[in-house]
Symmetry: D2
Subunit: 133 residues, 4 copies
């Protein structure tokens, strides 16, 4: 199983009065990690859209273990442990200097952008994921 | 059990290219609901802070059932089903014109703002919650 | 000249490490004020869209005079001083308990949503604005 | 005069229903550019804070010339044209594949973090800026 890593620099705008990254910001970090994950395995999300498929989030879970503060460089690991069916589950581990700060997952359904109905994942995506899990 | 309701108007800035509210925005709606919930039961979060207690989110879960679009008026129901211990769990149900769009919960720990260590919930909060569950 | 007022409650998620509302959040408050302004004069933005007209922001200016903090209730005044041409300028004054905290304006162009070319403002909008300036 | 460049990848969460980056997001891109600018000239903002100095934004201006869409790589150029006094002005030029999309500036005052009163910029910062303008 291969993990894919993206880094995000914490801006002042990401933090709140407690002096740490706001809990509401992490789903955006998850998106940053997911976006680069799909690009790196060879199936960027823009290609998904060209095939008229969207991946709306249908569930998200976040566990806040520790905090990140302004100017920290957050390392976002994204990975997939199981083959997609009509859904796909992506897992995230965020850390700052090897200290784990947040973990979580998002579950997405494959939707046909013309009919807005559930659809099967592209064969190419299944093939690419088989190579890394 | 009593539910507390807050309304939020969807701005353009809340939506994304799919024409619906971005999944990343909902944790902010949860905060809006939680904020008014605490105010309405008689223990606004600012009072919590005056007692040197913070309630950082330690877990969040979101289930995206349907979508909201620009200018929709989202009704946010917040409720508590169980008495707080060292943690408190708040549940959310978001709907647009009686159509359920998102459900979820956040779990918070009670932290002493001077020592940053876990603490017990204020007696007054427990008393107020007993009255509504 | 009539001013239109909207209120926004400051969430934790709006603030930053300095303990005040982040400078990046104010354009969203401006949108909230603009949105209600258009609704109250009788031409909600959703109606604009139904007439295939969009109002993208082409310029924005913000002067940060004082600060707002968590749980403050920000009063947003929006007004128009001059009739729209191919552009429209909206002015904003934000205050907390009568203390002015931010002023600014946005300039928008009228765009035909089918051709994405500049267009003239709807006659009805001009008429409604004439009544209030 | 030297320009400093930072890149930001447009996420879905940055866009709105019009299919382009929301106008409210650009002040955050400005912050990303400013943050890296200060780091690259040798005076990261965290060092400013260690010297008990903050740089709150007192004015911001944005001109939206063209649009960016999901997955675009935005190039953020930040520069300074004049020596700081009690204020500092930073200019920004954002482009996608050499097409200019947004320009603007922010003006900041130097504030002593202990007294919250205006203060003079650090000598080291003036020296570093002299080298690049």
């Amino acid at each position: 199983m291969i993990e894919f890593i993206t880094n995000v620099r914490v801006l002042y705008a990401h933090t709140d009065t407690m002096g740490v990254v706001s809990n509401v910001r992490y789903l955006e970090y998850f998106e940053a990690g997911r976006n680069e994950f799909l690009r790196k395995i060879g199936f960027p999300y823009t290609e998904m859209e060209k095939e008229n498929i969207a991946l709306p989030v249908i569930e998200a879970n976040l566990k806040y273990i520790s905090t990140a503060k302004y100017d920290d460089l957050i390392q976002i690991k994204a990975k997939i442990n199981e083959l997609p069916t009509v859904k796909i589950k992506i897992l995230y581990e965020l850390s700052v200097q090897d200290k784990l700060i947040t973990t979580g997952f998002t579950i997405h359904s494959f939707i046909n952008l013309k009919t807005f109905k559930p659809t099967r994942p592209p064969e190419k995506l299944i093939k690419l994921i088989k190579e890394i899990i």
